[in-house]
């Protein structure tokens, strides 16, 4: 059967992609950030999965206001790179896994999550920046990717609890799959940031670190935090952090198994307007 071996959490600031694409990653401003991912790049080389189930949000690129899915799973064979307004990022297109993604969709829908199935979708920095951070510059991503987009743009977004329960359902789906796949689940977005209004630039280092602590040690408790606290304490765009709970809910301990091993933890301010948080959690094998 397929297994979730690890989860990865990381912010996904567009400026990080731009820094890499324009060769600025060794400038002092960016070097401090990329240093925090040096371990991770080696770790991913040593622990390359067959498939990454990548939870992220679209930023008005694949989805406009004409149709806003709460949860959308990509079941396409591949995904082009979105032109977000600056031209498409010069990174490889993303190869999907239609068969496995459809299996997960079926299982999760039968577990009462009302997914939207998507077969034609360009992927934006929400998906490509985490890949770039973890893989560096590359001509081909190291494995297949199943994009899973969460609406965190128009309110109401799904609750932390709903996201956490969805993670559990994804784990059940993975374990019902006959092929012996090594699967990682990534939760992306956040941490504290606000991109709009006179309060733009908000950063809450203390809150972010408390979130990381609790995500590791008490994810079920974290799942019950209401949205308003994310928005007030971590900025209007800090709400992206609910997506991390999907990945966290898919780990063994959320499903009656042992606690994960913290392989890596990193926190840095700023990347452009944003606090960058990053975790790698491994399931005991």
């Amino acid at each position: 059967m397929a297994r979730i071996t690890a989860s990865v959490y990381t912010s996904h600031v567009p400026a990080i992609g731009a820094a890499m694409d324009h060769g600025k990653d060794h400038e002092p401003y960016w070097q401090k950030l990329f240093d925090g991912y040096e371990f991770s790049r080696q770790w991913l080389k040593d622990n390359t999965p067959d498939v990454i189930f990548l939870v992220y949000n679209d930023h008005a690129n694949a989805f406009s206001l004409s149709m806003i899915p709460t949860f959308a799973i990509g079941t396409a064979p591949h995904y082009p790179i979105a032109d977000e307004g600056w031209g498409p990022r010069p990174v490889p297109a993303v190869e999907g896994d239609s068969v496995f993604a459809s299996h997960i969709a079926q299982s999760v829908i039968q577990d009462d999550f009302d997914l939207t199935i998507v077969n034609e979708m360009a992927v934006d920095h929400g998906l490509t920046v985490p890949l770039s951070l973890m893989c560096g510059k590359t001509d081909a991503w190291p494995c297949r990717v199943i994009p899973f987009a969460v609406n965190v743009v128009q309110y109401p977004v799904p609750s932390g609890r709903r996201c956490y329960e969805l993670g559990k359902a994804i784990r059940r789906a993975v374990e019902r799959y006959d092929e012996p796949l090594n699967v990682q689940i990534w939760g992306t977005g956040g941490m504290s940031h606000q991109l709009q209004g006179p309060r733009a630039g908000l950063i809450n280092r203390e809150w972010d670190n408390a979130f990381l602590d609790r995500l590791i040690a008490d994810p079920a408790g974290q799942a019950d935090m209401p949205h308003i606290e994310y928005v007030r304490e971590a900025g209007s765009e800090g709400i992206e952090l609910v997506m991390w709970l999907i990945a966290r809910g898919a780990m063994a301990d959320a499903n009656g198994g042992p606690a994960p091993h913290v392989a890596h933890r990193f926190y840095h301010v700023p990347a452009s307007n944003t606090a960058v948080g990053h975790l790698i959690l491994e399931n005991p094998s």
């Binding site: 731009a18 743009v153 709009q196 309060r199 733009a200 630039g201 950063i203 007030r232």
Partner: protein
């Protein structure tokens, strides 16, 4: 009993809910159109003419022409959509976000490098009213 909107009590912040989305529908869809290079070129060549192709209010068009992003947000714009106006001109997210704070580009950048805007005093609207 209507639904609760506790997020109205955060200073300097507009949450993009259904009400804002309805108000800003065509403003945001106009922004989406700037994802195509040919539309970006047409917009830059004659902004007013391009805006007039959309069912936007005069206030919304003026706010776009003025690059007044705070006003755009109040009129229903969402920052991810509005960012495409900045992208069309080669502006970064940091320049756009900074422009909404009343700070200079340099001051905003310096604030971010020094750890960002602190949370103290920035949680509730009443904290700003005192100022």
């Amino acid at each position: 009993m209507a639904l609760d909107k506790p997020y109205k009590d955060i200073p300097g912040t507009v949450i993009f809910d259904a009400e804002q989305s309805r108000m800003g529908y065509w403003l945001n869809q106009f922004c989406m159109s700037l994802m195509k290079a040919e539309n970006r070129a047409r917009f830059l060549a004659d902004e007013r003419a391009y805006l007039d192709e959309w069912e936007m209010t005069e206030d919304q068009k003026q706010a776009v022409l003025d690059r007044d992003l705070n006003r755009c947000v109040q009129l229903g714009g969402n920052i991810y959509f509005l960012a495409k106006i900045g992208a069309t001109e080669g502006k970064s997210f940091q320049q756009m976000a900074g422009s909404m704070t009343g700070m200079s580009e340099e001051d905003y950048r310096d604030m971010m490098v020094s750890g960002g805007r602190p949370i103290e005093g920035n949680r509730y609207t009443h904290e700003w009213e005192k100022k």
